[in-house]
């Protein structure tokens, strides 16, 4: 646990051009990713961003489709009580719901999964449940969830259908992944914009902005959070950093693909 005031943060930054944890304004914390960690899932990963840790697992089901000719894709992120003393069990609160919907929109807008291929008939096909559990929390669950979710999707396995039922022992040999999403979350404390805020920094921020970009540098998700305001220059600065980060972080996600479980 760490606690300091906004004044302390600002004074320290003005004197040292560093944040209280020693980082520069546009610096990520350490990232660690491992693919395919849950064998009961049809695709999984664990991702650590500083001290925030997220496990993602995919489960595939077969049945009716919500929309004709399009597989179902459902993202749910759980702020588990194991992650932080302030997280309680029970139905998701507004933070958990917002988090789930942000990440859902990013993956959906970027069409990370070819949902058309996941429809076997007009009204019947696969449902992809992408579920994530935040198991340790120190801010920026958004970016950590995107990392874990993206890594899980990159090892997705779609079971074959036999006799109108899933055969979870045999998988369709095809590629369902057609894009990647990288997310950058910023906090604005007074006029200082910092990347990848810790929990304390998030509490002090007037505004938080998450920007998701895909591998072609399209912006595929934006969420402004917090009670404060944001001007055009500040938004531009954030977008510029998000786009600049994209190749580096993408390499981290793809590179880790070779880190096999044991």
């Amino acid at each position: 646990m760490i606690h300091y005031s906004k004044e302390t943060f600002l004074e320290y930054y003005r004197n040292y051009t560093r944040r209280i944890d020693g980082r520069k304004a546009d610096q990520y914390r350490e990232i660690a990713i491992k693919h395919d960690v849950i064998k009961t899932a049809e695709g999984s990963a664990i991702a650590r961003l500083g001290d925030t840790l997220v496990v993602a697992g995919i489960k595939i089901e077969y049945g009716d489709l919500f929309e004709d000719n399009k597989g179902n894709f459902i993202v749910n992120i759980d702020l588990s009580p194991i992650a932080h003393e302030s997280f309680v069990s029970g139905p998701p609160d507004e933070r958990g719901i917002e988090l789930s919907r942000i990440v859902d929109r990013g993956f959906r807008s970027a069409e990370v999964l070819n949902l058309g291929k996941l429809a076997l008939e007009a009204k019947k096909g696969y449902t992809v449940f992408l579920d994530m559990y935040v198991i340790d929390y120190d801010g920026n669950a958004v970016d950590a969830s995107y990392l874990a979710g993206m890594a899980a999707l990159s090892n997705i396995r779609i079971p074959k259908i036999e006799n109108d039922k899933l055969n979870r022992n045999e998988f369709v040999q095809d590629n369902f992944l057609q894009n990647h999403v990288i997310s950058s979350t910023f906090a604005k404390i007074d006029d200082i914009i910092i990347l990848d805020p810790t929990h304390m920094e998030s509490e002090l921020a007037d505004v938080l902005v998450s920007i998701a970009v895909d591998r072609d540098d399209n912006i595929v998700g934006i969420q402004k959070m917090g009670n404060g305001g944001l001007n055009r220059d500040e938004l531009d600065e954030m977008i510029e950093i998000a786009l600049k980060n994209r190749p580096k972080i993408l390499n981290r996600i793809l590179g880790e693909k070779d880190v096999k479980d044991k």
């Binding site: 646990m1 209280i20 944890d21």
Partner: protein, 174 residues
């Protein structure tokens, strides 16, 4: 380094490292005369402030005789009274950084006769107050450097040559 588990011997209920008397992982239990740091979480109007010291019961600060006004969210330092339930000689900790460490590592951070504490202060140009309950206040100076040193001590509290290690890794002037 062999570890001793709860139940290994009579009267052993916590984790110990062989050869070290104090348990390596414990829970802080307030004792009279301990200096602790905590957060004001409530006020019983005109009677007392309630202070969370990250233990299984909160402390109280009696308002009568108190020369300052405190607010919820303030961090204070005080001395545990004879009853073990109230804080005396209360001081408001303004600004700075509050940082929590496992209470079992407080001894190592202070050092015998306080020399480890002085070393941290010197190497980070800071001023520290350490609560027996594991809550530290860094009053001023290079906060991130102080925290780095504290984290190193916590991670290596059980390893020999800690002071040398600290000097080697943080000894150069910034």
């Amino acid at each position: 380094m062999r570890v001793i588990l709860p139940g290994d011997m009579e009267n052993i209920y916590n984790l110990h490292l062989e050869g070290i008397d104090a348990a390596i992982e414990t829970v802080y239990i307030p004792k009279p005369r301990d200096v602790v740091i905590g957060k004001i979480i409530a006020e019983k109007k005109n009677v007392a402030y309630i202070v969370d010291i990250s233990s299984f019961y909160a402390m109280s600060i009696m308002i009568r005789g108190l020369e300052m006004r405190l607010n919820i969210g303030d961090y204070v330092m005080g001395v545990v009274s004879q009853t073990g339930e109230t804080l005396e000689n209360v001081r408001l900790l303004r600004n700075g950084v509050i940082y929590r460490v496992p209470e079992s590592k407080v001894g190592r951070i202070v050092g015998s006769k306080g020399e480890m504490l002085k070393l941290i202060e010197k190497l980070s140009n800071s001023k520290l107050e350490v609560g027996r309950n594991g809550i530290i206040w860094i009053g001023r100076g290079d906060f991130s450097r102080a925290i780095d040193i504290i984290n190193t001590i916590v991670k290596r509290a059980h390893i020999r040559g800690l002071t040398d290690y600290i000097m080697k890794n943080f000894g150069d002037a910034k």
